[in-house]
């Protein structure tokens, strides 16, 4: 096995182009588990923790750009105001030790359907910035990034450089079901993002289909029928929203939960997070 240690982004891209089978390594919270358990023996590890620019984040032009090496701890501590949905999800990842190492970039690279970052990225309409030495930069909308269980639109010679999330134009919430309040892989999860100016409700479903996905019919329903200026949130509309969010999922029975449980939990989480977000929206409107 080779251990590649680029110190610049250009070196990293060159290494990946020359050795596309090299596995990128950031916090190691997924990759090292597979190596420790001999599930994976890649011909090379590509350590990206020395590429300083990947650890940078910035806010400007209506979006927050988060380098692929920014750990969850930083998302939680510094980005809660600008990308609250993602920050809430980051807050539920593992433990403090894991949040010190794990990254949103790594979550995207692993592309697990249970990854906590994915639902808020989908709900907020994030784009993933990827690059290769020979192909240059591409931006991939989160909704087009996840292709299958642990498969993404990333090409073999590409690396994830950053994720760009619109600065939250309205309230955002994330909810996750697990057996504990820490250290759990989601049984299922859900994110909602309100965009009052565009009259849009974004959604993201985690751990209840082969890939993270949006609940598009539920989003369309809200675009058609939500009265953004009304005094209350119509309970019948909330019920239909919950049902359509659950219907968008395609869960299976597995060790963490049954398909039936996941559908029920998604219905509940969708109604709950929408109500929380609506209450914030109403509060801001009044303020």
């Amino acid at each position: 096995m080779d251990f590649l240690r680029p110190t610049t982004w250009a070196e990293a891209l060159a290494a990946k182009a020359d050795q596309p089978e090299a596995v990128p390594l950031q916090g190691g919270t997924d990759v090292m588990v597979e190596i420790n358990f001999a599930v994976r023996r890649p011909p090379a590890l590509l350590d990206l923790t020395r590429v300083a620019e990947l650890r940078e984040w910035s806010v400007g032009g209506g979006e927050c750009r988060i380098g692929a090496g920014v750990p969850y701890r930083v998302v939680v501590e510094e980005l809660g105001g600008v990308v609250p949905g993602l920050a809430q999800a980051a807050r539920t990842v593992g433990s403090p030790q894991i949040r010190n190492r794990g990254t949103v970039g790594g979550n995207l690279g692993a592309a697990s359907p249970a990854g906590d970052s994915h639902p808020p990225l989908l709900a907020a309409g994030a784009v993933i910035e990827v690059e290769s030495r020979d192909g240059g930069v591409r931006t991939i909308p989160a909704a087009e990034f996840y292709l299958g269980v642990k498969r993404s639109a990333l090409r073999p010679d590409e690396l994830i450089r950053a994720v760009r999330v619109p600065s939250a134009p309205g309230p955002q919430y994330f909810s996750k079901v697990g057996t504990r309040n820490a250290m759990v892989i989601a049984v299922c999860s859900f994110a909602v993002a309100l965009d009052p100016a565009r009259r849009r409700v974004g959604t993201g479903i985690g751990s209840a289909a082969p890939t993270p996905r949006r609940a598009e019919e539920a989003e369309d329903l809200m675009a058609r029928e939500l009265d953004w200026d009304g005094p209350t949130l119509d309970p019948a509309l909330v019920e239909r929203f919950g049902r359509l969010c659950a219907r968008a999922a395609a869960p299976i029975d597995d060790v963490r939960g049954t398909a039936a449980y996941r559908l029920r939990a998604l219905d509940v989480m969708a109604r709950r997070t929408l109500t929380w977000a609506w209450n914030d929206h109403r509060g801001r409107r009044a303020a």
Binding site: M1, L25, M32, I35, N36, L45, S95, Q97, I98, R101
Partner: protein
């Protein structure tokens, strides 16, 4: 490959390190520092917690090569000579140790908590220790120990 980094203030090197090897393995098997414990090897239990460049991490999930040139502080580096750190003293005084396997990770994690938050609430203690599992049912004593350590450090500071 050869890996060189600072451990508890001293520069150490290990030769013949396999590229997929963890920092935990290098510490325990190559550098003679068995304080950090090897249990789950998947970041679930926290018993391998060490400081890496000042941040607590699960050393089982750090590739040895990622530690190259960096600073590592293990449980062996908490005491100053024969003088235990207040966190260690508090664990002894409160009986927060049963089999002892989770103890090194808890000590490092609790040490970090008190460096950042000298007077943590119970909720903050629980949150900080959420990734450290004790299977001897010792959590109450551990919470007592962290509270006592905070008091000791406050009195000393």
């Amino acid at each position: 490959m050869r890996v060189t980094f600072t451990v508890n203030g001293r520069e150490e090197s290990a030769d013949g390190v396999w590229e997929g090897e963890s920092l935990l393995y290098v510490l325990r098997e190559r550098l003679g520092l068995p304080g950090s414990k090897n249990a789950c090897e998947q970041g679930e239990c926290g018993s391998c917690t060490v400081y890496l460049d000042g941040e607590p991490v699960c050393s089982c999930l750090v590739a040895a090569g990622q530690a190259e040139g960096r600073r590592v502080r293990t449980v062996e580096g908490l005491a100053e000579g024969d003088r235990l750190d207040p966190v260690q003293e508090a664990f002894v005084e409160c009986g927060a140790v049963q089999c002892g396997f989770c103890t090194p990770g808890l000590l490092v994690q609790a040490h970090d908590l008190l460096e950042r938050l000298p007077d943590p609430s119970d909720a903050e203690i629980r949150e900080a220790l959420a990734g450290n599992l004790c299977r001897c049912t010792g959590y109450e004593k551990i919470l007592d120990a962290v509270r006592l350590a905070a008091t000791k450090k406050g009195a000393a500071g």
